[in-house]
């Protein structure tokens, strides 16, 4: 069976018609997943076949099933699946078994999706290359010497290499979209509050959002519609209706923001993308987001502040890695020092600093105020345009090890993706071309809050024209 060009939507039809069984499909993907040479899977679930068999039986009885029924998906390992290890690619949780399902997992199980395995990631989702995993870096399927991106590098690599039909990731500052761009697949960061984070190991709670990683825009929409929805266990979820597709056919480009620091091939691909949108009948206009230049600085205050607070729960007492010490305090200190990797320790220290007495106002409070300015910039622009177009990343995937020694260089990779999380708006990264060396490049479309349907529409038109 060759599934390289199969999509979730395509497979759903074959499963419904009986051309394909869930068992055959799952066996095929289990075999592929076990041959993973990318270090993308942390574990492949052999019990997936039991689920597949049940789906085939239900279908044989004539039950009406969701399009996801029998579809093998991979799950980032910071999303809890009851009875499975949720390590967050950290030593501190290496043996932690989840005692309940995340809300999104309950929804996937309800829809009959087959959970194929848990995927590698930057430790606690902190990073942009998956090099911060305690279990080794994920390789880019298009070039094994390069990073897959991160932090959802494993989830993205398995979709790009067809080791699963789709995957879930989490996105705090670009962790779905940046690897999607690096590996040539589609990744969506939904509007803040549309997808429950119950059962997602928290990194920065005002920014985290779970989203789909797929081969096509239509698949991203399908998966998004299954996982979204209000949840009493995540008080930030909202029941609001999605906005209807906006029909102004107008796309904004923050010209000064996208004119600096781009790899020449990315710049050319971006110019080409603008042309394609014009040919599709869109008016492409320059827009101003004056405060966006502060987004990265703002993010690298708010994110570590929240992360240092969220990660205080890992104390070696209730779960996770435990080290002996002469008293309880020392046990905390040593358990945490041994369990957390360097980037996580760095962000905990940074977060502790910006929240500490004497610095709170200068850093955290200031960043909160700047964040409101950034949000206001977006709100103003969305009065005029349907979507904002930028590159997803400044350039293609970099070499493994190339940026690992300087945290700040790595952080600058997030320049186009972090403003979206600060503003709480949705954004989708879609493939837009390749470098001469064959490395994927992505563009990002950002929408108004609850504007996912407009993004699917515009991204879908671009995809149809370019693929």
């Amino acid at each position: 069976m060759d599934t390289t060009n199969l999509t979730i939507s395509g497979v759903a039809k074959k499963l419904a018609s009986g051309e394909l069984t869930a068992v055959a499909l799952t066996e095929h993907y289990l075999a592929k997943a076990k041959g993973d040479n990318l270090n993308a899977y942390l574990e492949v679930f052999t019990d997936a076949l039991v689920q597949a068999k049940l789906i085939d039986e239900r279908r044989a009885k004539g039950e009406k099933l969701s399009p996801l029924a029998g579809v093998p998906l991979a799950i980032k390992n910071n999303i809890l699946i009851k009875g499975k290890i949720a390590s967050c690619a950290s030593k501190i949780l290496a043996n932690y078994t989840a005692s309940y399902d995340a809300a999104v997992i309950s929804k996937l199980k309800e829809a009959g999706a087959i959970l194929l395995g848990r995927t590698n990631m930057d430790e606690f989702a902190m990073g942009g290359s998956t090099e911060n995993s305690a279990f080794g870096a994920v390789k880019n399927p298009k070039d094994l010497t390069r990073v897959a991106g991160g932090s959802s590098g494993g989830s993205v690599a398995v979709v790009a290499a067809d080791l699963a039909l789709g995957a879930l990731g989490s996105d705090t500052g670009g962790s779905i979209r940046q690897p999607a761009a690096f590996c040539g697949v589609v990744g969506l960061k939904p509007t803040y509050g549309l997808v429950s984070r119950s059962g997602l190991v928290a990194m920065a709670s005002s920014l985290d959002q779970i989203g789909p990683i797929t081969k096509t825009v239509a698949d991203a929409k399908l998966l998004f519609e299954v996982i979204k929805g209000v949840d009493l266990l995540d008080s930030t979820t909202r029941a609001d209706e999605l906005r209807p597709v906006s029909t102004r056919k107008k796309i904004g480009v923050p010209r000064s923001f996208v004119s600096e620091g781009l790899d020449p091939e990315m710049a050319a691909t971006f110019a080409e993308a603008e042309k394609i949108f014009k040919n599709l009948g869109y008016e492409v206009v320059d827009v101003e987001l004056p405060s966006i230049k502060y987004a990265l600085a703002c993010y690298y205050i708010i994110m570590p502040a929240e992360a240092s607070t969220n990660l205080a729960r890992f104390d070696g007492v209730r779960y996770g890695h435990h080290a002996e010490g002469k008293n309880l305090l020392e046990e905390y200190e040593v358990s945490r020092a041994e369990g957390f990797g360097p980037e996580v320790r760095r962000r905990i220290m940074l977060g502790t600093y910006v929240l500490s007495a004497g610095y709170y106002d200068a850093y955290y409070a200031k960043a909160g105020a700047v964040r409101e300015m950034i949000k206001a910039d977006y709100a103003k622009v969305f009065k005029e345009v349907d979507a904002i177009l930028t590159p997803t990343t400044p350039g293609p995937a970099f070499k493994i090890g190339e940026k690992a020694s300087d945290p700040l260089t790595m952080y600058l990779e997030d320049i186009f993706t972090v403003p979206i999380n600060l503003a709480g708006v949705p954004a989708i990264s879609i493939p837009a071309g390749k470098t001469k060396a064959g490395l994927p490049l992505g563009i990002q479309l950002t929408g108004a809050p609850m504007g996912e349907n407009t993004l699917f529409e515009i991204a879908g038109e671009f995809e149809a024209k370019t693929s």
Binding site: Y96, T97, S99, L232, S235, T236, S291, Y294, L296, A297, C298, Y300, I301, S308, A312, D315, G316, V317, R318, Y319, G320, H321, H322, G325, K326, N327, L328, L329, E330, E331, Y332, E333, V334, R336, A337, F340, P342, R345, R346, I348, M349, L350, T352, Y353, S356, A362, Y363, K366, A367, A369, V370, E372, M373, D406, P407, L408, Y411
Partner: protein
Amino acid sequence: MISNEEVQKLARLARLSLKSEEEASLVQDLNSILNYVGELAQVDVPALSTELPAANVMRVDTNPHDAGEYTNELLAAAPKSHDGFVEVKAILGDSTS
């Protein structure tokens, strides 16, 4: 600029023991990041509105689960437990620790 002493103090607050070689690189990394994020000091922010758009959302406090329903499952995750409790070192009675 952040000093070695400050890094030691932060590590204490964050409950992280530091190796001495890590301390030097942390001082350097934190200073480089703080230097970058420090650009926010130059931004003039408008006076913040007191009417925050966000509001607290509380779950209705009702239908509690039975006491002990999840105890065994949760304790199974604890590195050390004893007679239905999580076990830790004594925190009272030893002022030197």
